[in-house]
Each structure stands twice: as structure tokens, then as C-alpha cells.
């Protein structure tokens, strides 16, 4: 199984979660108001009145064959906007829980 961590701008959250749904990930976790540093400089986290301007992190666990479509789906987006994606190997206790029927 592979674990995928995606960091995108708040305005692309819907696109990323939509992509995961379509590819067949059974679920994902979202962490809001993530701050950090990238090629475009430091990105601030929580803003009181603005949800769209901060970064979010999404992570999900999917079987290996799903990684390619996810990569393909996020590739053009990352060419144009700030964000990043990490894929790592992971082990889970209930395999069937993470595989879409």
C-alpha cells in the first residue's frame, strides 16, 4: 500500500479531494491551515477570515496501482501552482478497508 501526502493551496482542496474520490481512494484525511516554506516563499497558516488563502494537507492510503492516476491528475496542477506531493510505502492492518470495491 502507498501513502500519499498532498499539500495544495486552499482553493484547490475541492479538486484534490474530487480527484481522490474519482480514482477510488476509500478515504482521506484533511488538515487545514498548514503553514510552511516552498519555492515561492513562506506560506502563512491560519487566517481568521479567509479559508481559501492558506495551505491544506491531504493524506490518503491507496493500493499501488492507484498512484499513477493520482500523480497524473496532480501533475499539471503542480506545474502551475505551488504545492507538493509525497508517496511513501506504508503497511496497514486491514488491507481490504483501503481498497474500493
Amino acid at each position: 500500500m502507498k501513502e500519499i501526502k498532498i499539500i495544495v493551496q486552499g482553493e484547490h482542496l475541492k479538486f484534490a479531494t474530487d480527484l481522490l474520490d474519482r480514482v477510488g481512494a476509500t478515504g482521506y484525511t484533511i488538515i487545514n491551515n498548514v503553514s510552511g516554506k516552498g519555492h515561492h516563499g513562506f506560506h502563512e497558516g491560519h487566517l481568521l477570515f479567509n479559508d481559501t488563502s492558506s495551505q491544506v494537507m491531504i493524506f490518503t492510503v491507496v493500493p499501488e496501482e492507484k498512484v499513477e492516476p493520482i500523480l497524473a491528475g496532480l501533475g499539471p496542477l503542480f506545474n502551475k501552482h505551488s504545492g507538493t506531493m509525497f508517496v511513501t510505502d506504508t503497511a496497514v492492518s486491514r488491507r481490504e478497508h483501503f481498497i474500493a470495491k
Partner: protein, 1100 residues
């Protein structure tokens, strides 16, 4: 007969990649919110990553919208003094080289030439080209043209006329293939495609407006279309052969369909994003709405009938590829794909050029006739003949262009001479080299480049005046405080308004009455919430669209109106049933024939009433409504209910229900239904084992089967089951705010404003809303900070929260002491009639009775000059007396024929973030957003960051919406209200069908043909140390985009030295402007006349 290609198989990876491209392509389209909650948005929001000048140009390419006001309007501004020549010269400075020419005896520098070119419109196309020119003009003309030809000669670049504007490689990024066909062979493919897409979109996206809705919508847009389009005869009529067969052969998934179309059209992958952008930009209204809908989670219409941009493109590209294929085969004998088209363009460049010129109507008559003949041949198109004719015509054109150039050059020189009041005869005395230089200068600065300079000059003048007024005002206040006039006394009341520009007028007049302090805060008062009104079934978000609320608030009747509330509910249900019945009768096929005779006269009454006697009609109908369905006093569910309380509430309700049913069904009454029994029955229904055991058959007088059925009914219909209870529990505990949350929001609001001490006895949160009749744009006049709704619920909530002693205790621990005699109130300002209504007066303690009365009187009185001032702007008839102003304002809000109930936010140009002292003595004429802020209380800059990343952004959206709707009302605005038809309950179209209109209607921003709103970019003035502001900008790419790309101007008033600093991307902070010493707020020397209290300065 065309062979049908098998649709290819695409992998998941390819599909997801395509979705990504569509997402990126869709970024240039700005979202469109449904009109129930109109959101002012920058139509070029997707292009904000570009500098302003480039973004408007790209907008022109994509949407066809004008970038700036037309030069003629700007020239009128020069005449009327709104633009100064000095500012224009300053704007042109960076373009000018340090050289001068001697023209007809007059020495002119490059700068002078450029300036004249703009002010006198020298290079504008001459209105009477060639024909109706006056006689002596014509003579002078030809004389000068001849002189030019002999003396000056033709510059080399003129003899080159390009065959094509851009190389064929750029085709997919510039035009769609459909547009290419339209321009090359004169079809109307794009129009056809647009018409079809409007048809399908408007029926699919309907939200209950139509009586005959589209079937199969649940199969998604693409699925429904593939199902229905097979039977649509239109496809055959527009020229798509074998349409049903082709549609049936389409792939099941829309991504595959898009990939298939792109592959057939042979669009190279590098150009996909731009190509798809072009398609989406053809109808920005509908695509903007689809984009919005696809972004929603939990929107019921979207969940039932899904649509998104990929599905839209799947349908649209099908039409394009079929129509392009058919056209190219029939008219050009080539395949309808990019590779073949490019080959055609490259192999027959002159033939291609000729075709385009002929379609555009630029060929001389005989050539046009020949082209006509060539195109009419029944055989295959003869490319060689076209090429031959094209080559010949091209030669003719080159010669013509040379003659045109001479004519134009002569025009320019003549025009310039006239502008300088120089004798035209002297023109020939100019040396040839000077003439050449002069013409180069003029040609190098074409009309299309004038716009940005005009805008800059326009803004400079206004901004300079604004800053001067602010400086003078601030000096006056500083003088007053330094001279010890103002003791730190307690204000009579503090009133918090929304930052909306209309509040500024009211604030001025209210403060004028003396003793009041007004503040500005974003209209949702820092409390985002989902609000469910008393009689509604759904909650609506009351906060800026940048946020998602996490708390729900319901409006419930006050306990002493319990019975009345019940009656209200019944009456509301009856009314709803009656409306549904009426709607069904109207939409049925047969009944209208009968209904018109039977009920027509009844509907005549409101028609006559609303038209002839609007005020009387509305007063009467309000009275009648009050009689039949009296309004119920309500309060809001501010506090959270603990889970135990919630369970108790649910249990009590269910007991009551069981008692009702017991009485009804089994005739049990009184003592037989003891509380213990009710509880036991309830627990049995839920399924708890300790329910009724052996006593079952004895308690309820019926057969065991009937009893079992009864329990079943309790579980299913009345949801007395574990699931039902947990659902109710969840809903109940979600409403309201915990005490900590309440303290958090109140503290945030108070600190943002800088109001943390010296509270008055009464603090009023004044929200705003508007009233108008028959106005689809009604919510555009409501509060933008509340998501296009009226802000009253937010005001009520925060007032209730701030009055709680528990909250005040928490605030005290955090350093904000609210005195025990300070009471918070909520009110709403109706911006159409300028009336303020205070709510929840029952909650006001008796000690504040007098304060309340005084406040109400003053609010009433302040409303009158406000209505007067706004009425003057609306062009009231002959010198209004104050009372008439009020009446006329009321009439505007009651009249259903009124297309302009108020000017709304038109005129906005400025945002001031700082204490009221900065703007107190300045009359800003309702053109400024005012947000209170105290830099001394914000060492970390967090508060300023909050203001800059939300209210400022909303103000910029409003400003840009008004700018573009004024500059090009047909493309970026929605045209005249007269032709609007509400469609699907989501928006308006012009006429029977058109693109969904975005932006503001003509009546809001224009006065007839001339602009009322002055389109210029927002200037933000912030009173804070400039390094703090700089640090905040550096931390947020959003702000960098706005300020560095020129979407918003920024000026800081540094409290340390009381000087104004302009923010420049490259140079950093630049001191002052032209009037350096006048912008020095601190210095009092030499400004003696300002130090005594003067009449308010008018901010132009």
C-alpha cells in the same frame, strides 16, 4: 461518407490528467454565485496573477471585453477637470524620449506630442474617411499627402502588410477551430454551438422554475445529454449528419469524450489548456455558474443532478468537432482537424488570406464578386484559383495600404496643426526628418495604448485630492486634541457600521448630531454563521464567501409568543399550500383557460395597486399580513445546548407526541397516561429492554398486532428510534456557540476595531440591508460581507454574546473591561430608505430606557439628511425638502417599476483602514470603505493582517466588479435590466436565451450612456507603521498579487512621523506625492487656517 473512428480506450491516468487540464483551463473563468445571494466578484479574478494592464488585455482576447473606458469619455473628463494635463504628462513620462521636433514653427518634445495625441485624439480614426470632408479640408489634405510622398517618402515598414497576424502554429492558443472556420468560410459555428449549449445548460441547471423539467438529469449532464440528444432534430438541422449514431457511439465517460474530441481535432497537448480556456470563455456566465456548482459540497441540486466543466466540455467539443469536420470537408475539401488546417494555411497562404478578407468584408467590390463566384462552384474547392486571386489582391492591397498611410499621415499632421492652432499652410515648412520622427512617434503610440495612461492620470488626480483632504482633516483633529478641546469623555453611544460605502454618509450625519462615536467593521461583525430564519427550512451562510461557518443559529419565537408562533406556523403552511396550488394551476395545460376568467379580476387589484399607488398598496398589504399572520417576536439560539439538555428536550417532545397519539388512537386520557407510562412506551419504541414487559397487553387497549403496529409507526414515521434521536441530538447540539467561542468572537471583533476601552453606555451594532421590488439584483444591494444577505442576524448574535456576563468575565481575564452599565444592541440600516430599526428591544434593561429613546430619535433624524444627500445623487426632482426626500426614498423602495432603487456601491474608490479620527471631518461622499483599526493595539500586526486578507479583498472584488461593469457593460456587466429574464431561479439572461449575464446591470453603474461610477482601482490608506504593512504583504502571496500587480493602490500613513507613503513594488515606500509638504500631517506651521475647526472638506 466519412468513416467512423472507433472511440479510443483511455487509461485512468490520462483521464485524471485531463481533469487537471480542465481545472487549469477553467481558472480564467470567475465563479458565478446564484443571484439569490449576489456576490460582487472580479470578472477577471482568474487573471489576477498577471499585472493589471496585461490581465485586461488577456480579458479582451478571451472575452472580447474592453479594457478601459473609451478615449472620448476620458477626453470629456479632461474638459470637465476630472483629469489634469499635468497628471497625464506624469503618466507619459516613462514613455518619452528626450528629443524635440520643430513642427510648423512650433517646438514640441516627445512628451508634448504624446500628450497632444491623447488629449486631441490625433490618431483616432477620422470620422469622415474619404467621403464627406469639407472642400478646403480636402484640398489641404491632398496637398499635404502629395508633399509627404515627395519630401518624406514612404517608410519601409509601411510597404509590408502581413499576410497573417500570427503564425499557424499559434492557432489553438488564439482561436478555436470553430472560430477559424467562421472567419475563413463564413459559417456561424460558434453561434450555433453557443445556442445549443445555452439550451442544454438552462434546462439542466434549472432549480424549480420550469414546470416541465428535463428528464434523466440524475444521469449527470453528460448522461442526460447523450440520452436526449439522440432524439434532437436540431443536430441534423445544423448540419451534423448521422447524429444519433454518432452520439450512441460516444464513450460513457465524459473524460473519454473530451479526450476523443481533442484527439480527433488533433490539438497538440501543449495547447490543451489554452484551447479549453477559449471554449470555456465563450460563455463565461454559464461556465462560471457550472464552476461554482461543481465546487459546492452539500448543494442539493448538485448532488442530485451533477454537472462540472468536464461534462460541459464533453458536450461542447462534440458539437465543435462535428461541425468543423462537416464545414471543412464541404467548403475546403480538407479534414476538420488542426494538422490539416495548418497544412492548408501554410500551403495556400494567399488563398487563405483572401478568404478571410472576403468574409470580413474588406475586399473591393470586383474582387468580392470574383471570390463569390469561386466559392459557389459545385465541384471541389479550387485552391489554386483562390491562391492566384489572393496573390493578385494582396498586391493591390499593399498599394492601397501605402495610399492609406499617406492619407492617415496627412490627417494626423492636419489634426495636430489644428490642435496647436497653427496655420495648416505652415506644415510644409517642417523639415523632412522632423516629420518622419513625428510620424514615428505618433505611430508608435497607437490609440490602443492610451487606456492605461488615461487610467493612471484619472486615478492620480482623484487620489491626490483624497489624500489632501485626509491630511487636512487629520490635521484639524490633531489640532483640536492638542489644544485640549477634547477631554476623554464618554460618548453618548458607539455605533458600529459595516464598511460599506453607504454607511459613510449615515455616519457623517449621525456624528453631526453630536456626542456619538461611529466605527466600521466588516458587516458580519466577525461572526460567521449559518442562519435559519423562523419560517425557513434551510440555513443560509451569513459570512464572506471566503469562509465556511462552523456554527448554526436558528431564529426561534420568544417564549411569550408560543401560541402566536403556532398560529403563525399554521398560517404559513396554509399560505404555502395555497401558493403551490396556484402555481400548479398556472402551469397546468388546461386550467389556465378557466382560471383567467375566474380569478383574473382578483389579480388585477395588486397589478393596479403596485403600479399606480405603490406606497398605499404596500402599506395596506403589510397591514393585512400583520392581521392574518402577525409577526412573532423572536430571539436567536446563541448558546449551545448541552447534550443532557438536548436529550431532555427531545424526550419531552416525544412524550408530548406519544400523549397526543395515545389520546387520538386509543382514547386514553388523563391519569391513564402517566409520565411513567409515556416514558416506558418511549423506551420500548427506542428498543430498550427495560420497556414494558408483561404489562404490554394491559397498558394499551388494543390487540397485540395493533400495538406492534403502533410501535412501528412511532419508530418510522415519528422517528422515535435510536437513529432519529441521535440525528436530532446532533442537530440540536450544533446550533449555537459555546461560551469560550462567544468570548473569542467578541474579543476578535472588539480588538479589530480597536474598541477595547472607554465603552459608552450603549453600543449599537448596525447591520444593513435594502428593500426593493421586482429586483433580481436585490441581494447585490445587501451586505457583501454577509454573503449577499442582510446582516441583521450577525448584529443580533454579537450583541447578545457581548451582553452575557459569562462572556464579559472571560473578556476581563483577557484584558478587556466592559463596564457593567454598557449594553450592546443590534439594528439594521435600510440603505434604500435610510431608516434604522433597532431589534430585540425587550432585552434592554430599564436603566437604559432614556439612552435608547435618545438614540432612536437621533437615528431617525440623521436618516433625513442622509436620504436627502442620496436623493440628490439619484436626481430628485426640483429642490427637495427634507421630508420629500424621505418620501421619495420610500417610494423608490416600493415601486416595482423602479430600475434604480439606489445607486448602491457605485462610486467606490477608496478604502481607509484606521481610526475614525482620520476621516472624521472629511466628506467622502459615500465613496469610501471605512474600517476602524488602532495600530497602537496591534504590535504583532495580526489584526491588520486579518483586515487586509479579508475585508480588503472583498472591497477589491466590489471595486473591480464596478470597474468592469462600467467599462464594458455588455461583456462584463449584464446590460439593461429591461431585457432581463430570470432563468432557473439562478440568474438572468438577456432576451429569450443568451449567456447567463454576469456583473452589474447598466442602471447601477451608468447614467443613461455616460458612466456614473468612476472606474478606477481601489486606493487603500492604512494608518500603521509601514514596516508592519510591508511584513504582512511579504507573508501573503494573495496581497503581493494585489499590490504588486497593480490591482489595488496602497498608501500608508505612518503614525511615527505622520507622513504619507506610497507603496511601490520596486522602490518600496515612496514619500508623499507632488504636494509633499501638504501631505505632512504633523506640521502645523504655515497651515494656520487648518487649525481652527473648519467646515468638512469635500473629498472629490
Amino acid at each position: 461518407m466519412m468513416t467512423m473512428q472507433e472511440p479510443q480506450r483511455f487509461t485512468d491516468a490520462q483521464r485524471m490528467e485531463l481533469r487537471s487540464y480542465v481545472e487549469l483551463a477553467g481558472e480564467v473563468i470567475s465563479q458565478y454565485w446564484p443571484m439569490r445571494t449576489f456576490i460582487h466578484h472580479n470578472p477577471l479574478h482568474g487573471l489576477e496573477s498577471l499585472p493589471f494592464d496585461q490581465a485586461v488585455q488577456r480579458g479582451a482576447l478571451l472575452f472580447g471585453g474592453k479594457e478601459y473606458l473609451d478615449n472620448e469619455t476620458f477626453r470629456r473628463y479632461v474638459t470637465s477637470g476630472r483629469i489634469r494635463t499635468e497628471d497625464l504628462k506624469a503618466a507619459l513620462e516613462p514613455l518619452a524620449v528626450d528629443k524635440a521636433v520643430d513642427f510648423a514653427g512650433r517646438v514640441m518634445s516627445h512628451l508634448d506630442v504624446l500628450c497632444s495625441s491623447m488629449i486631441h485624439g490625433i490618431t483616432e480614426p477620422y470620422p469622415h474617411r474619404g467621403d464627406a470632408v469639407q472642400d478646403d479640408d480636402a484640398r489641404t489634405f491632398s496637398r499635404i499627402a502629395a508633399w509627404l510622398q515627395t519630401t518624406v517618402g514612404i517608410p519601409d515598414m509601411v510597404s509590408y502588410t502581413p499576410l497573417t497576424l500570427w503564425p499557424s502554429l499559434e492557432l489553438p492558443s488564439r482561436d478555436t477551430l470553430g472560430t477559424w472556420c467562421d472567419q475563413t468560410v463564413g459559417t456561424s459555428i460558434i453561434e450555433t454551438i453557443n445556442r445549443e449549449m445555452v439550451k442544454w445548460c438552462s434546462v439542466f441547471l434549472d432549480e424549480g422554475e420550469t414546470s416541465w423539467s428535463m428528464p434523466h438529469r440524475d444521469q449527470t449532464f453528460y448522461g442526460a445529454w447523450t440520452f436526449l440528444a439522440q432524439h434532437d432534430v436540431t443536430l441534423r438541422l445544423v448540419g451534423i449528419r448521422d447524429a444519433p449514431k454518432k452520439i450512441r457511439a460516444l464513450p460513457e465517460r465524459p473524460e473519454d469524450a473530451v479526450l476523443d474530441s481533442l484527439t480527433r481535432l488533433r490539438i497538440p497537448k501543449r495547447a490543451w489548456e489554452e484551447y479549453l480556456s477559449l471554449h470555456l470563455a465563450a460563455m463565461p456566465g454559464w461556465t462560471g455558474y457550472i464552476k461554482w456548482r461543481a465546487h459546492q459540497s452539500g448543494y442539493p441540486w448538485q448532488q442530485q443532478f451533477p454537472i462540472d466543466l468536464v461534462k460541459y466540455l464533453a458536450v461542447r467539443l462534440f458539437y465543435e468537432r462535428e461541425l468543423v469536420e462537416a464545414t471543412c470537408r464541404d467548403r475546403l475539401g480538407i479534414a476538420g482537424n488542426y494538422d490539416d488546417i495548418r497544412a492548408y494555411m501554410d500551403n495556400y497562404p494567399h488563398g487563405y488570406w483572401l478568404r478571410r478578407e472576403w468574409i470580413a468584408g474588406r475586399l473591393p467590390k470586383p474582387a468580392a464578386k470574383q471570390a463569390q463566384r469561386l466559392s459557389r462552384s459545385d465541384q471541389k474547392p479550387d485552391h489554386l484559383a483562390w491562391e492566384e486571386l489572393g496573390r493578385q489582391q494582396y498586391g493591390v492591397r499593399v498599394d492601397q495600404d501605402v495610399r492609406d498611410w499617406l492619407e492617415r499621415a496627412a490627417q494626423y499632421l492636419l489634426h495636430l496643426a489644428r490642435a496647436l492652432s497653427v496655420d495648416p499652410a505652415a506644415i510644409e515648412s517642417t523639415s523632412p526628418s522632423d516629420v518622419r520622427t513625428l510620424l514615428n512617434w505618433l505611430a508608435g503610440f497607437p490609440v490602443s495604448q492610451h487606456g492605461p495612461r488615461w487610467l493612471e492620470a484619472f486615478e492620480s488626480n482623484h487620489r491626490r485630492q483624497a489624500l489632501n483632504d485626509l491630511a487636512a482633516g487629520a490635521r484639524a483633529v490633531a489640532a483640536r486634541t492638542s489644544s485640549g478641546d477634547e477631554a476623554q469623555s464618554r460618548a453618548l453611544a458607539q455605533i458600529v457600521f459595516c464598511i460599506d460605502v453607504r454607511s459613510e454618509v449615515f455616519r457623517r450625519h449621525l456624528e453631526h448630531r453630536g456626542g456619538y462615536e461611529t466605527l466600521g467593521l466588516a458587516g458580519f461583525f466577525g461572526v460567521p454563521l449559518d442562519y435559519q430564519p423562523f419560517s425557513a427550512h434551510h440555513a443560509v451562510s451569513h459570512c464572506p464567501v471566503l469562509l465556511k461557518p462552523k456554527n448554526q443559529v436558528r431564529e426561534v419565537p420568544r417564549s411569550y409568543h408560543g401560541v402566536l408562533a403556532q398560529r403563525h406556523k399554521t398560517a404559513a403552511q396554509l399560505s404555502k399550500a395555497a401558493h403551490t396550488l396556484l402555481h400548479d394551476l398556472k402551469e397546468n395545460v388546461i386550467t389556465p383557460y378557466v382560471m383567467v376568467e375566474a380569478l383574473g379580476w382578483f389579480f388585477g387589484l395588486p397589478l393596479l395597486g403596485k403600479t399606480l399607488l405603490p406606497r398605499w398598496y404596500h402599506t395596506t398589504s403589510r397591514w393585512l399580513k400583520q392581521l392574518l399572520m402577525p409577526s412573532v417576536a423572536t430571539t436567536l439560539t446563541v448558546d449551545k445546548i448541552t447534550p443532557e439538555e438536548a436529550e431532555e428536550m427531545i424526550a419531552a417532545k416525544q412524550h408530548a407526541l406519544i400523549r397526543e397519539l395515545g389520546r387520538e388512537r386509543f382514547g386514553l386520557a388523563g391519569a391513564a397516561l402517566s409520565p411513567a407510562l409515556l416514558e416506558k412506551i418511549r423506551r420500548k419504541a427506542i428498543g430498550h429492554a427495560d420497556g414494558i414487559s408483561g404489562e404490554a397487553t394491559n397498558t394499551l387497549p388494543c390487540t397485540p398486532e395493533a400495538e406492534e403496529a403502533f410501535y412501528q409507526e412511532l419508530r418510522e414515521r415519528h422517528r422515535i428510534s435510536p437513529r432519529g434521536i441521535s440525528d436530532r441530538l446532533e442537530r440540536l447540539t450544533q446550533t449555537g456557540f459555546s461560551v469560550t467561542e462567544q468570548a473569542y468572537f467578541v474579543e476578535a471583533a472588539l480588538r479589530l476595531m480597536g474598541l477595547t476601552s472607554n465603552f459608552a453606555r450603549v453600543i449599537l451594532f448596525c447591520a444593513h440591508g435594502s428593500t426593493s421590488q421586482n429586483n433580481p439584483y436585490e441581494s447585490a444591494l445587501d451586505c457583501g460581507a454577509c454573503g449577499g444577505n442582510q446582516g441583521l442576524p450577525n448584529a443580533r448574535i454579537i450583541a447578545a454574546m457581548a451582553n452575557k456576563s459569562a462572556v464579559r468575565e472571560l473578556l476581563l481575564a483577557r484584558g478587556i473591561k466592559i463596564p457593567s452599565d454598557a449594553h450592546f444592541l443590534a439594528a439594521q440600516h435600510d440603505t434604500t430608505t435610510d431608516r434604522v430599526r433597532i431589534i430585540d428591544m425587550e432585552d434592554v434593561p430599564a436603566t437604559h430606557r432614556k439612552d435608547l429613546t435618545r438614540l432612536m430619535t437621533d437615528l431617525e433624524e440623521a436618516g433625513i439628511p442622509t436620504a436627502l444627500e442620496r436623493g440628490l445623487a439619484l436626481g430628485m426632482p426640483t429642490g427637495p425638502i427634507e421630508k420629500t426626500a424621505r418620501q421619495l426614498a420610500s417610494r423608490r423602495s416600493d415601486d416595482w417599476a423602479e430600475t434604480r432603487p439606489e445607486w448602491g456601491l457605485s462610486g467606490n474608490s477608496l478604502m481607509v483602514i484606521g481610526p475614525r479620527a482620520l476621516t472624521q471631518t472629511v466628506n467622502m461622499r459615500g465613496r469610501a470603505f471605512l474600517h476602524s483599526y488602532d495600530s497602537r493595539q496591534d504590535a504583532s500586526g495580526k489584526l491588520l493582517e486579518t483586515i487586509m486578507t479579508a475585508p480588503l479583498v472583498v472591497a477589491q472584488w466590489i471595486n473591480m466588479e464596478h470597474y468592469f461593469s462600467t467599462v464594458d457593460n455588455e461583456v462584463y456587466g449584464s446590460g439593461s435590466k429591461i431585457y432581463h429574464n430570470v432563468v432557473g431561479r439562478i440568474g438572468v439572461m438577456t432576451g429569450a436565451y443568451s449567456d447567463l449575464r454576469i456583473g452589474l446591470p447598466a442602471q447601477t453603474v451608468l447614467n443613461g450612456r455616460t458612466p456614473y461610477h468612476e472606474p478606477m482601482r481601489l486606493l487603500t490608506v492604512i494608518e500603521a507603521p509601514r514596516d508592519r504593512i510591508g511584513a504582512i504583504i511579504d507573508r501573503h502571496s494573495l496581497l503581493q498579487q494585489l499590490f504588486h500587480h497593480g490591482w489595488v493602490g496602497l498608501v500608508a500613513l505612518d503614525p511615527r512621523d505622520r507622513m504619507f507613503y506610497h507603496y511601490d513594488r520596486i522602490a518600496g515606500w515612496r514619500r508623499g506625492g507632488q504636494d509633499d509638504d501638504r501631505l505632512n500631517v504633523a506640521s502645523d506651521e504655515g497651515n494656520q487656517d487648518h487649525s481652527s475647526g473648519r467646515a468638512p472638506e469635500v473629498c472629490h
